[in-house]
């Protein structure tokens, strides 16, 4: 019951926040120079044609009226139309968002698999060689530009070793993609029982996910290490050691107390990566939502940018909500 009340209160605050986000991004996007009507019709367009297209797109209204129209359409689930793809933005995003989610989720999973064990191992033995490596890695990983690391990995594993397919898109062009169910290619291929498509999709996923994993393992490692060290040095751990409790139990209790901060950093990274993986998407021609938004900004295509900002904001808010629910589960102090 308490949880339902809590969620209800949180949802109540989300609405004004989303409205603020839409307003700011609307103003920002509208101030980008470039007239979509001119770009759509090309350089030979007559002023009459441009004016009539302005009327059709609703660009002849004042800015507040345009914003009001956008909000009204939004309420009906209409996010506008992209002039580049000439398709409704909602359809485009539903197609592209799963691609980004697939990449980001797998990348983050790799980051957790690298970061958490290394962080734990170095926390148990502060002066050992493993801690030395972990310290260096934690500092160094955040210094690498992701788009550069992606290129280096392409050079090693595609150009030189030929272990992975060419970094162009999510699946080989010669392979028919599986019928879309979830939009996540690897999952769809498995659902369709198409082994060949799955192999190709997974092969294309390896390098971009590895890039994100290697870089984002850094902050996870640092957080695991520092919160675990803090817990092992805290009064309750020392008391347990003094009482002669087995080391295994002391570690387990410390780990349980260090868990919330590790979950926090993972969730922050998840929210950040939805938009933060853009450069990796571009390097691998991934065709994800972030790349779609960047194309939109660079070509005065407003609605894709607005739609992307809205989608990723909702996604981050959703992730933060789920994380708060996880806190309920792992931290008894909050639920009582």
């Amino acid at each position: 019951m308490r949880i339902i009340l809590y969620i209800g209160r949180r949802l109540l605050f989300i609405v004004p926040q989303l409205l603020g986000i839409v307003l700011v991004s609307f103003l920002l996007v509208k101030s980008i120079p470039g007239d979509p009507a001119v770009l759509m019709l090309g350089p030979t367009a007559t002023p009459d044609a441009i004016a009539s297209l302005h009327r059709k797109l609703g660009l002849d209204h004042s800015l507040p009226v345009q914003f009001w129209i956008y909000l009204k359409n939004l309420a009906h689930g209409d996010l506008g139309t992209s002039w580049q793809t000439t398709r409704p933005v909602l359809e485009d995003l539903i197609q592209r968002f799963p691609a980004t989610l697939e990449l980001v989720s797998l990348g983050l999973l790799l980051a957790v698999l690298i970061g958490v064990p290394l962080g734990l191992a170095s926390a148990f033995n502060e002066r050992g060689w493993l801690a030395g490596i972990a310290n260096f890695y934690g500092l160094g990983a955040g210094s690498l530009p992701d788009f550069w690391l992606a290129l280096v990995l392409i050079f090693i594993f595609y150009t030189t070793l030929q272990w992975v397919p060419a970094p162009l898109g999510r699946i080989d062009l010669t392979i028919v993609p599986p019928p879309p169910v979830t939009g996540v290619l690897t999952v769809d291929a498995l659902l369709a029982g198409d082994w060949q498509a799955f192999r190709s999709a997974a092969g294309h996923l390896v390098l971009p996910a590895l890039t994100l994993g290697l870089i984002n393992a850094g902050p996870i490692l640092k957080m695991t290490q520092s919160s675990m060290e803090k817990m092992l040095q805290s009064d309750f751990s020392r008391y347990e050691v003094l009482c002669g409790m087995p080391r295994r139990l002391v570690v387990r209790h410390a780990l349980r107390n260090a868990l919330p901060s590790v979950v926090t950093i993972i969730s922050v990274l998840y929210g950040f990566l939805i938009g933060g993986a853009v450069l990796v998407e571009i390097v691998f021609s991934w065709g994800g939502a972030g790349q779609y938004a960047v194309q939109g900004v660079l070509n005065s295509d407003f609605y894709p940018v607005l739609g992307f900002v809205l989608f990723s904001a909702i996604f981050s808010l959703f992730v933060y909500l789920v994380v708060d629910l996880i806190y309920f589960a792992i931290d008894p102090r909050i639920s009582h």
Binding site: P145, L151, G275, I282, F308
Partner: protein
């Protein structure tokens, strides 16, 4: 003069127990010097194409090779800090100045009554909204709407980072405003504005300083990322991100040098700035500083007996094999 000497001795001793701090400062210094004195180190021009020598592998004539239009990559790599560091440092300083200034007032007025409380609440919610944006797309949109130039990249970096300083400063000031010396200053007749400026901000600066250096590293990464997608500094201006972008296709076809060298320079520089940030954090945090002082003492006692005589001894002990 002796004071400077003592300071230098302290620096050497700290470098002995924390070699990575020294590494950080060395990297940052090298990057700055490379940018300043680039013409001394290279005979080539950083922006002149030479179509007869394109895509040459690293050699004695071209240490880092040449790119697709025949520009010398070593030259461009050492000229790049001029652009990258200038943008990153200016953007970060600007965001720290504006962000922490607003943050100080928001923190000071966040308790109590009246319009100012509502105003500071509104500022915090605005910061929430700004931070909910995907950083990179936000930065590109900012650059696009103000027109692409070096100044707008600086502005975008300042804008994106300002909420961080706003929050840092606000948290600090909320703790400090309860202090006695703040009450004393108000009782003595200073206005809120003067109290904040003279007594609160100077006492709340430490975490901001530690954040600055780390943030310069991020700002370099953001600048390079913007240039990589073509929304930042335009080619042929020597800039690490746009150099990596120029080498993109070559990398896939097997010519690794146009992208690898500028990327390495970029990564090492960012690494240096985060090490410097780490050192400032240690100097500023009382607990971490105590650990450093402890290690200094251990190092002093471990030194051979001859070194016990004084700081000069420590110095010579460090130089012995």
């Amino acid at each position: 003069m002796p004071k400077i000497l003592d300071f230098l001795k302290l620096v050497v001793r700290i470098a002995q127990v924390r070699p990575r701090f020294l590494l950080g400062y060395a990297i940052v210094l090298v990057a700055i010097l490379a940018g300043l004195m680039a013409p001394l180190f290279s005979a080539y021009s950083p922006v002149t194409a030479d179509s007869s020598h394109f895509l040459q592998a690293p050699s004695r004539a071209h240490w880092f090779g040449t790119d697709a239009v025949g520009m010398d990559i070593f030259t461009r790599t050492i000229y790049a800090p001029r652009i990258d560091l200038t943008i990153a440092v200016t953007g970060t300083l600007l965001s720290a100045l504006v962000g922490s200034f607003i943050g100080a007032f928001v923190g000071y007025f966040s308790a109590g009554r009246g319009v100012r409380v509502h105003l500071s609440y509104a500022v915090m919610r605005a910061a929430d909204v700004l931070q909910a944006f995907p950083v990179f797309v936000f930065a590109i949109a900012l650059v696009a709407s103000f027109g692409q130039s070096i100044e707008t990249v600086v502005l975008a970096i300042a804008f994106v980072n300002a909420p961080i300083y706003l929050r840092l400063m606000r948290a600090q000031v909320m703790a400090i405003r309860e202090m006695r010396y703040v009450e004393a200053s108000l009782v003595a007749g200073l206005s809120d504005f003067k109290t904040i400026l003279r007594h609160i901000i100077p006492n709340a600066m430490t975490p901001v300083l530690a954040q600055l250096s780390i943030n310069v590293g991020w700002a370099i990464l953001l600048t390079a990322g913007l240039s990589f997608v073509g929304a930042g500094v335009r080619a042929p201006t020597p800039e690490w991100g746009s150099m990596i972008a120029m080498g993109f296709q070559n990398m896939v076809t097997g010519q690794w040098w146009p992208s690898v060298f500028p990327g390495l320079a970029l990564a090492v520089t960012v690494f240096g700035f985060s090490l410097v940030g780490l050192s400032i954090e240690v100097f500023a945090d009382p607990i971490k500083r105590r650990a450093l002082v402890r290690d200094l003492e251990i190092a002093r006692r471990r030194a051979p007996p001859a070194a016990m005589s004084g700081p000069e001894g420590v110095l010579t002990a460090g130089e012995a094999p």
